[in-house]
Amino acid sequence: MSYVDVFVGNYIVIDFELYDLWLNGLPAHECAVTLQQRGVLQSTGARFDELLSDTKDSFRLYASLEQLLKCPTKFGNQSVYQIDPETQKTLIDKYYKSDDVVIRELLGRKLSTRNRNNLDDVSEKTKVPLRSCCRQFDNVKRVFKTVEEMPGSLEKNIKTLFCLSSDKLAKKYAAIVFMTNHRFETTKKRLSHLTFDDFMYCAELMITNWSYSAAECDNHEDMDVDLDRSFLQDLRELKILTDKQHLDEHKMYVMNSLKTSLIKKKHSSLEDNYKATSKTIISLAYGLNHSKEVRNFFSDVIEEVIEPFMNTGWTYEDMKTFLQMYKDAGVRLSVFRTLPSLGIVWERYMNTFINCCLKLYHT
C-alpha cells in the first residue's frame, strides 16, 4: 500500500463540492463513495483509488486550513497558504454556514462541553451528521465567546472578526449570540413548533430596537448584546397602565375602534379577556428588567398572549388589527399626555412586541 501520497500546489485550489462534503463531516472514504455515486469518475476515466487519494489529500488540507478558519482574521496575517480572496471568502462563508434546524436545537442550550458531547440527539433529530453539528456548535460557541464582551454593534463585530461576506450570516450569528446571552428559553414543548427563523426575526428586532444600538438609545458605547438599561428602567413606568383608571380608558379606546373590524363574537370575547391580556403585555414589558423573565419571554408570549387568542379562533389579521389598535389607543391615553417621554418608551416597546407577537402567531 502507498503510504506517502501527497499533492501540494503553489496556489490553494479548493474543490468546493468536496469541501461541502467535508463540512458535513463525512469521513474521507464515505465521501469518495458519495462522489463516485455522483459520477465524478465517469467523466474523467479515473479509478476509485485516485478519487480516494484526492479526497484524503484535500481533507488533510482542509484540516490544516481549519486552524485559520476558526479565526479567519488570521488569513490576512499568514503566508503559508496562497489563497485568492474569492476562494478565501467562500471558504469562510461555507465554514460558518449553519443549518437552521441544528441552530434551532442549539438555541437555549448552554454552550458547555457537556452539551457538545450530547449532540448525538440533535444529529438524530435533524438528520444532520454529528460532525457537522459539532462544527456548528463550535462555531456558535466561538463567535459567542469572541463578541460577548465586545463593545459596538454585534453584527458588525461578528462580520469583521469572522470576515463574513454576507450580512445575512452575520445577522444570524448576532441573533444567536443575543439569544444565547439572554439565555432565552426556547426548548419548552409549547415552543417546539417555532422555527429558528421565528426566533431570529424577534432577536433581530430586539437588537435593533431594544438594545444599545437602537436609534432611541443615546449611549451607543455599550454592547448591543445587552438590552438598553435605561429603556428597561423606563419600561417600569409602564406599570402605571395597569392602574384601573388607565386600564379602563385604554380598554374603551380599543374596544371602540375595534367595533367595526371585528365580528361580534370575537369582540365580546376580547371584552372579557381584555384586562388579563393587557396586564400580560405590560407585565412582560416591565418584566424585561428581570433576567429570569427575559429568559421566559417567548414562552410567556406564547402562553399568555398568543394561545388565548388562538383558542378563540382569532386569525392573524384579527390579531394584527387588535395589537395595532392597542398600541395606537395607548398613545391617546391621558397619562401619556402628562408624561410624553413615556410615549416614546411605549412606542419603542410596542412596535417590537407587536412584530414579535405576529411572527410567533402561527395559525
Binding site: S2, G9, N10, Y11, V13, E50, S64, Y81
Partner: protein
Amino acid sequence: MPGTLKVKVVSARGLPVMDRSTDLTDAFVEIKLGPEGQKTDVCKKSLNPQWNSEWFKFEVEDEVLQDEPLELRVLDHDTYSAHDAIGKVYIDLNPLLVKESPSIISGWFPLYDTMHGIRGDLNVIVKIDLFSDFNKFRQSSCGIQFFCTPEVPAGYRLQYVHGFVEELVVNDDPEYQWIDKIRTPRSSNEARQRLFSKMSGQLARKIGLKVLEMGGGAVIGYQQCFDLEGESGIVIRGIGTAVTLVRLRDAQASPLGMSPLKDSPLQEENHVPSPPPSKKERSTTSPMKVAGPTNRRSSDSDTSTTSKGILICADEVCWIIGNSVGESSGSGNGSVSKNCPRMCSQQVNIELMEFPLFTMTTFPPGFITHLGGVVAARSVKLLDKIHNPEEPETRDAWWNEIRTELRSHTRAMGCHAVIGYSEQTSICDEIILLSATGTAAKVNLNLDQNQSARQAPSLPTGAGDKNTFLIDRDQNKKLFVDVNLANQVSQKLGHGGSTDDVSPRVNCGLCHIPYKPASSPFPINLTQCSSCKKRFVPDVLFTTINPPAEIRTIGRGAFIQARVCRPKGDGKADANAKEISDILPFLEYELHNQLINKLKVRSMNGLFKLQMQFVVGEKMLVAVATATGAFLAPLPSPPVPRLLGQIPSEEENVALQELQLKIREQLQQYKDLYQLNTIDFANQTCQSSVHTDDSDDDTSDLDFSTGNKDTFVLEVDDTRDSSVKAMLSDIPQPAGMQVCNTSTMPGIPASCLVANMQMFTQVFRRQLDSSQQGLPKDFSEIFDSVYRRLYFKLRRMIPCLLCGLSFSVGAPEEDEIEIAVTGMCVAIEDNNSHNSSLTETPMTGASSKSLLKPASSSVVGASGENIDDMMFTMEEVMEGSAASANKGFKLRKENVKMKTSQVFSHQVINSIEITPMTYVPGSRIERYIGSYNFFFIRETSSLKEVGGVCGFMQKFITEVLAIVRAHVSSLGGNALVAYNMTQCVLLNNEHKNQSQCLINVCGDAVSATKDGEVIALVPEVPQPHYRKHSDSPSSYVT
C-alpha cells in the same frame, strides 16, 4: 568589497503561545552573521511584538557576506530557565551583492522551526553598504550573478561563453558527528541547515572566483547538488556555464573589454585527473557491443585519462541511431579534427576550450550548428574507500574521469561540445553511482562576432567549414519555404526565452550528422535530410536540450517515459559495486529500447530534454528516462512498428496478430492525438526525392539499401513480452491536457500559453513486491498511479499543458519506491489563427523585444542585412517574418491579456508565482533579482498527531513553498523561475512516531509584469509597484 550590513527588526506577528500561564509570549530576536551576534530587547507579553529596533550593524568581509547567511532567531525570554526557541529566518545576502539587484531586503519572513514548522512571521529590513576593494588576491567573488535558468536570461544578450565551471565542497555531516548523540534534534537539524547554507555560499563564491578568472560576469544554468554520503560527509557540487551577459535595456552597453583568450581555456582542464583510488579495474561489456572494433580506450588516451574504476558508458551510438547498435571506435579521432569548424579565432576558439560542457538547455538561435546525440557516462564508486574524506580531491578525480569519458564520446561523434549537460549521483550505503549526461553538438560560439561583423564585414575567408555551414543554412531557407507552402502544416513554434535579436529561423542543419557519413564512427542508418535533401540525418535524434527554434517539428510533442527496475542481490561493497556495474548496461539498453519503441508507436523521430535517472536501491536498480518526443521535419518519418516472432503455435500466432492490431490502433490514436496525420504524405515526397538532390559531398559512399526503412521490426519471443506491453500501456492523458517535460511544447505556440495555473509537487511512496515476478508489474503500477493521480487532480484545469514535468525517483528502503514529481500546469488556449503566422516569438523573447523597441528594431534590421551579406536570396522571408512578428505583436498581446483576465480573474493579485520554467506565461520578466537556494530540514516526533507521514509531508512542502514566496517577495520580486526541487529525502520511522525530511529547492527570483501592464507602463520606470506590496504580501483581508 567589505561591507556594512544593517539589520532592523521591525515586528513579528502570529507568534505561538509560549507561556501557558498567560497565553502570551515574551519574544526577542537574536541576529547573527557568522560568529558575531546581537539581540533586540524583549517585547513582553505579546503575540504580535513590535520592536522597531535600531539598525544592528555588522562590519564584515565580503567573503563572510557570500558564505554566511544572516540568521535571525526569535526566542521566548525565560527568566529562570533557558530561552525557548520559536523559529528562525535565514536570509541569503548574495542578492544584495550584485550591482543591478535591489539594495534592500524587506518583508515578512515565516519563522521556521525544524520541529514545529512555520510559527508566525518576522518583519525585517536588511541593507548593505559595500566598499570597493581592488585587491587582486581577494577570496570573494561579489558581483558574479548566478542564474539557475538554463538559458540566456530574459532581458540579456549573450556576449561571450567562457565555458564550464564546476566546484565541489566537502564537509562532515553533523548528523554523523559524535555530538549528535547528546544534542537535541532541533539543534542537530539547525546545525545541519546552517552548514548546508554555508557550504552552498562557499561553493558559489568559489565558482564565482573561477568565473572572474575566466573573465566572465555571470553563471547561467547553475546547478547545485547535495550528496549526502553519510559517514564520509556531505558534498555539495555546483556546475554551470560561465558567460558574459549584456543587459539589453541599456543599448549603449559597451562590450566588456575582456577577451577570454587571454585567460586559460578552462579551469576544469587544469586539473590533472589523478588516478582514482578505486577498486576494480575492468571494462564493461555492454550488450550493444556487437559490432565494431572496441578500442574505445585508445580514443580516450589522448585526453590523458587512465580510465580506471568501473566506467559504464551509455553507448552514445545507441542514443542517436536507434535500432542499429554499435560501439564507438577510435576512428572518430580523425574525423574530429577534420570536422571541427575553425571559427574565426579573434574571439572564442572552440578548440581552445577543448570540448566544453554547457549546462544550458536552451540556446540563442545560431548557437547550435549540429546536434550529434545524447552522450552519457556513468561510474560506480565506493564511498568507504575514499582516502581522506574531508578533502575534495577524490571526488574531483571521479568527476573529471566521468567528464573525460563524456568528452571522448563527444569526440567520437565528431562533435566538439556538450550541451544540456547535467550531473547526478545516487547513493545507497557505501555505493555511489555518478552519472553525467549531455548532448554532443557542434556549436558556434561567436554569435556576437557575427553581429560585430556587420560593422567590419571582412569575414575571414579561411573559415571553410563555416562557409559550408552558411550554405547549408541558406538552402534550408529555401526549403523551409517550400515545405511550408507545400505541406501547410503547423509549424513548430518558438521556445521560451531566446532573447537574441535574431528571430528564430528554421534550420535543418541542426539535425544533420556532425561527422561525414563515410567516416561515421559506427554503423548507422542515414537518410537524406527531408528538408534540404543535401545532407544526411540519422533516423532518430535524442537530445537533452529544449527544442531549438531552428528545428522544425510537425504536430504536437508527446511526453515519453521509459522506466526499468531490476532486482539485484544484496552483496556487500566490492561485490555489490561489481554487480551494479554489470547490470547497468542492460538497464541502459532496455531504457533505450523502451524509448525507441514508445517513440515509434507515436510516429515520432526526436526526443528533447531527455533526462535519465539511475537509482541504486538496496535490492534493486531503477532507471527512468523522461523526455518529450516530437516529429522533426528533417528526419525521415519513422517506420511502422511491425511484430516479428517465432511462432510456435497457432494460439501464439493469433495473439501476435492481436497485438499487431493493437499497435496499429494505438498508432492511429496517437497520430490523431499529436496531429501527425500529415506525415505520411511528407514522407512520400521525401522518399521519392531522395536520389534527386544527391549533388554535393561524398554521399554516394553510403549504402542506402541496408536495413529496411519502411518497417520497424520488433522481435518478440513471447506475446506477453513486457517491452511491447510497455509500449502500449501508457496511461492516456485526459482530453484537453497536454504533457511535456520541456519548457514549451512542440506544436503549441508560446502565445497559446495564457497563464500559469498551478505549480505542483507530488510525492508518492509505495512498497514494492520485491519478488522477481512482482517487481516489474508493481513498478509500472506505481508510475501509472502517479499519472492517474496527477491527471485526476488537475482535471479541472483543462484545457491545460503540464510542462516542465520533472521526475525524481528514489529507492529509500529495501522494497520501497518514492517518486517526486514537480511541474507546472499552464492554461492553454486553442487558437487556430496562430497556425497561419510563420514566426511565433516566444513570450519572454517577444516581450524583451517590445521593451527595447528602439534598440531591437535596429538590430532586427541589421540581422536582415547580415543575411543579405551572406546569402543569396530569401531576405523577403526574413524581413517579412520579422516585421510580422513586430507588427502582430502588440495586437496579440492585447488579445492574450483580455482572455487572461477573463479566464483567470480568480488569481491573487499579489500572488507569487513559482515555476520550473524560465518564463511566466502572460508576463514579461522585468529583472532578475537573485538566485536562491533553500535547504530545509523538518522533523517531527509526533507523527500521528500531525496527520501521519502524509500530513507531515503535505505540511512541509506547503511551508517550503511559503518560505520561498516570502523570500522572493522580500526582494521585490513576484515570481521564482527555474524552480527545481533538487532533493527530497524522507526518513520515516512510524514505530517511533518520528519522521524527518530534507528538501532542497532553488530558482531565480524575478520581477515580472503582467502583459496588461506592458501597455500601461513605460518600461524605463522602475517598479515601485511590487516593492510597495512586499511588506504585506498576503494582506487579502482588511
